[in-house]
Symmetry: C2
C-alpha cells in the first residue's frame, strides 16, 4: 500500500504503528527519527525501523506516508521542521490525543500542504512508554478517530481510513471540536479530578493516615492519577478550552449534589445518584451511544 513510512517519534505509539504496518504488509520500509539518538538506534536494532534518519526532515524525505508520534506540545515544531519536504502525494498523520490544537498548528504551519494531513487519534496506550514496549498488537481492535477539516484531501482521508482498518481498527470521523469536547468529558476531566483528589488529600495534615484506610474503590478511582505528569500537563494545556467547559458542567452537578446533602433532601439526592448509577451500570466500553 505504501512504499516508505517516515516515522517521527519511535516511542511506544510510533514504534507499535511501524511494527503493525509492516506486519500487515502496509508499508515496505520504515525510516525513523527520534529526538534521542539512542531511541532511534534502539528502534533500528529492534527492527522497529529499517533506517535511522538524522533529522525529522530527512525522515520525511522520500516517504509516501509520514506519521508524527511526538508529544502534542511538539507537534507545531515538528511540522516546521518537515514542511519543506512535504509533497501533495504524501499522507501525513499524527496520533495525538487532542485535535483542535494539532489542526490549528497544521493550518498555521503547513498552509496549502494541510490537505495532506489527516489528524488521527487512536484510542490505545499502555501504562509504560518507550520503544522497548512497542507492540504490533497495540492498535488491534481499538477505535481510531479521524478529524478531517474542510481542506483535507478526500483521497488521503480514504487511504488513512483504509490503512487503520487494515490494522484491525474501528475508524470513525468527527469534527476536531467534537472530538476534543468528548475527550475532555471522558478522559481529560477524569484525570484532572483524580489528580486534584490526590493533591487535596496528601496536602492535609492527616492525609497519609487517610490513605492508609483507602480501599478498592479508591484504588480504581485514582489509578489514572498515576499518569505521566509531562504527558498530562501537555494534554490539559492543549485542551484547556474544552476542559474548562466540561469542568463547569461537572461542577454544577457536584454543587447540586452537595447542596441536596446539606439540605437533607434525600429524595432529590437519590434521584441524581440513580441517574448516574443507571447510566454507568448500562455503559459498556466501546459501545456506541444511541
Amino acid at each position: 500500500m505504501f512504499e516508505q513510512l517516515g516515522l517521527i517519534g519511535c516511542g511506544l505509539m510510533g514504534g507499535s504503528f511501524a511494527l503493525a504496518a509492516k506486519r500487515a504488509g502496509l508499508v515496505k520500509r520504515v525510516v525513523g527519527y527520534s529526538k534521542s539518538p539512542s531511541t532511534t538506534e534502539q528502534a533500528r536494532r529492534m527492527g522497529v525501523i529499517d533506517v535511522e534518519a538524522p533529522s525529522a526532515l530527512l525522515a520525511v524525505s522520500g516517504a509516501d506516508i509520514v506519521l508524527l508520534a511526538v508529544p502534542v506540545a511538539a507537534t507545531e515544531a515538528t511540522f516546521k521542521a518537515i514542511r519543506h519536504l512535504i509533497t501533495p502525494s504524501m499522507l501525513i498523520m499524527d496520533v495525538g490525543s487532542t485535535k483542535r490544537d494539532v489542526v490549528d498548528a497544521a493550518q498555521r504551519v503547513l498552509r496549502d500542504h494541510v490537505s495532506s494531513f489527516v489528524p488521527a487519534h487512536p484510542i490505545t496506550g499502555k501504562e509504560v512508554s518507550g520503544v522497548e514496549h512497542a507492540d504490533p498488537e497495540l492498535y488491534r481492535g481499538k477505535q481510531v478517530i479521524l478529524t478531517p477539516v474542510e481542506k483535507t484531501n478526500g483521497a488521503h482521508l480514504s487511504r488513512a481510513q483504509a490503512l487503520w482498518e487494515a490494522m484491525g481498527c474501528h475508524v470513525q470521523q468527527m469534527a476536531p471540536e467534537a472530538h476534543d469536547a468528548a475527550f475532555a468529558a471522558v478522559s481529560h476531566l477524569p484525570h484532572l479530578l483524580a489528580f486534584a483528589l490526590m493533591h487535596g488529600i496528601v496536602n492535609q495534615p492527616l492525609g497519609k493516615d487517610f490513605l492508609g484506610l483507602a480501599g478498592p474503590g479508591f484504588r480504581d478511582f485514582t489509578r489514572i492519577a498515576a499518569g505521566d505528569p509531562k504527558l498530562w500537563r501537555d494534554v490539559l494545556l492543549a485542551n484547556r478550552l474544552e476542559l474548562v467547559e466540561q469542568a463547569k458542567i461537572f461542577q454544577r452537578s457536584m454543587m447540586n449534589m452537595l447542596k441536596l446533602a446539606e439540605d437533607g433532601d434525600g429524595d432529590q439526592l437519590q434521584a441524581m445518584i440513580e441517574q448516574a448509577s443507571n447510566s454507568r451500570a448500562h455503559w459498556r466500553m466501546g459501545q456506541k451511544g444511541k
Copy 2:
C-alpha cells in the same frame, strides 16, 4: 466466647458476620431479625441464623452480643426498638460506614447503655447485597475501625477487638470524627465525584456519543458510580459535614489546576500533577501512612 448473637439485619454484612463468628466458634447460637420476613426466613434456611425473631427487640432478648447490620439511616430507629432489653453486660456493635451520626444516635437513644456500644466499621463489602451472598470469608484479612467514645466500657471494647481479631481482621481504634473525615476523603468524596461526572455527561446533548468513546481509564474511574443509590444517599447524608469539608479541599486543588491550565503555566501545573502522580504511584492498599 459468646452464647447468643442477636443479629438485626440478616443481609450481606450481617449474614456474613454470623457465618464467620459461628465458624470460628465465637458464638454458639444466632437469633436473627430482618425487616423483611422472607429475608429472615431465608437466613434460617441457609443456616445463617438458628432462630427467627419476630422483632428487633426479641432478637436482643437473651443475647450477650448484638450486631446491628442495618442501613446507617435506620440506626437510630433500631436503637429505639431495642433499648428496653439492653443490659450492661451486653456488647452491642454496628457495621456502619459512617460513625459520628451513629455515635450521636447511640448517645441520644441509649443514654447510660451507650457504654455497651462499640461502634465498628469493617472495611469490606461486595458489589452485590442480600443474605444469598453472605460469605464467612467476607471479613478475613480486612481492616476494622472501632470508634469508642469516652463512655464506652473498656471491657466491652477489649472484647470487641478480640472478636474481630479472632475473625482474622486487623483492628484499629480512632475517634469518630477522624474516621468520618478519613472516609469522606478516600471514599465518600470519590463517590460523589464519580456520580457528578456521570450526571454531568449524560445530561449533555452529545453525552451518549461521548460515552461511546470512553476507554479503560474512564471505566475504572467511574466503576464506583454504579453504586447502590439508596445506600450512597444515606452515606452522603450521614457524613455531609465532613463531605463538605473534603469537597472544599478538593475544589481548591481542582480550581488551582484549572487556573494554571488556563494561564498556560505548564511548570506549576506539572508540579501539581507530579505530586499527585508520585503519591498515587507509591500508595499501596492497606499500607499505613508513615
